[in-house]
Symmetry: C2
DNA sequence: GCAATAATGTAACCAATGTTACAGCACAGT
DNA sequence: ACTGTGCTGTAACATTGGTTACATTATTGC
């Protein structure tokens, strides 16, 4: 585990902290599609991502969803920190976007390290900073942009995260992420295909050019 | 100034920290309507609110606005911290909602106190926590709710912040805050009036019952 | 009081998005 | 090969919200 830590967090944390993390952390492998956290779950640990990606979503009482952002290696979830602090239940849902490996750190350590290590403190602040900005960008997108533009952004982000020009999702799944309806998404995707920017297939979409 | 600090932050910070704040902080009075920060401004200090309220807004490139939340006494702006950390320009706009008094703390102190005082650290985390939640609630509102419900939420929040059952705004101003258009807001307000829940007047709205 | 200005009321219309319904097609399992 | 299920395509329609246009009313400055 210490090697994975060094590879992904070596530039952030000092030796001592890396060793502490290795000592109390537990290594976890999570398959793509696995729900790591649901609304209302209690938070038991803080995940430090080593490889893969995790999709973080908001959900309302009716079960309607909205994609917030993805977590990648070298990152952690500020919502988790959020919940630890407030001793509250999770207000978000997290699902592995890919096969993912991570190191789980008990939440009690968070407070301790925050006092002890400047690098940890910086990391935690940086995480909050990044997440707040990401949520703001989603807000911009939902508040100021139309669905066609939001769909484009979504597709771009998706190929960036998955490092592939093929998106393996159904129109229905995309509609859930954007909190829209399948028919609307099919309609807009068809327009993009007619513009020659994507190719539609069953269960996957090939991206030609989104610029 | 030390008295205002004790009244508003005495339960949060220890004596030593209160004294430090009093020593380096500058007391400011801001009239209602004053723009405290515009998009692109550089952040020069961290505001600790003593009285009044500040309206925090998001703005897109076209100048379209959206109300994010209000800051009240005993609070500070996590966006400011956000900007300090990233050394970036402000991504939000802040306008005094009421006559407001505050203590301005130089941003260099933020880092120093974070290492030195646990209470400060907790305050900073709590602030991030609160703001992230507030932005998430706005996102819920924009993503999941229709304009009539958003307008209701807006009116409720407005009377809570201003501690008055009369709202001194034009329909146009409300439309800006909700990123809608004047005609739409007038239409919805008229419906609320017909339901007997509000009374419309020129330049102000009397709230009867929003429950 | 009178003109200029700002705020509000309202109608008609348009665009974007969501909904319902159904057809066709692909694929998996038998 | 056959069938059931899930995915996609498409049309028709409903709803929400935004736009344009203009009338009416209140307020301000003279």
């Amino acid at each position: 585990m210490i090697q994975e830590l060094k590879d992904n967090y070596g530039h952030l944390f000092e030796e001592d902290l890396l060793n502490e993390i290795a000592h109390v952390g537990t290594f976890k492998e999570v398959p793509a599609g696995f729900t790591m956290m649901a609304i209302g779950d209690y938070v038991r640990g803080m995940p430090l991502l080593v490889s893969g990606a995790i999709k973080v979503m908001r959900e309302d009482k009716e079960g309607d969803e909205l994609l917030l952002y993805y977590l990648e290696s070298g990152e952690t979830c500020s919502m988790t920190m959020n919940c630890c602090m407030g001793q509250t239940k999770s207000e978000i849902k997290a699902v592995a976007e890919q096969d993912t490996t991570l190191i789980m750190v008990p939440i009690q350590k968070m407070e301790e390290w925050t006092a002890k290590y400047k690098t940890w403190r910086d990391f935690v602040f940086q995480t909050y900073h990044n997440r707040l900005n990401e949520v703001l960008h989603i807000l911009d997108s939902v508040a100021f942009e139309k669905m066609d533009q939001r769909l484009l952004n979504y597709l771009k982000e998706k190929i960036r995260i998955n490092k592939s020009n093929t998106i393996h999702n159904t129109h229905q799944e995309i509609a859930y992420d954007l909190h829209s309806s399948r028919v609307v998404i099919s309609r807009l995707l068809k327009k993009l295909e007619q513009m020659g920017r994507i190719e539609l297939h069953r269960n996957h979409i090939k991206i030609i050019n989104l610029a």
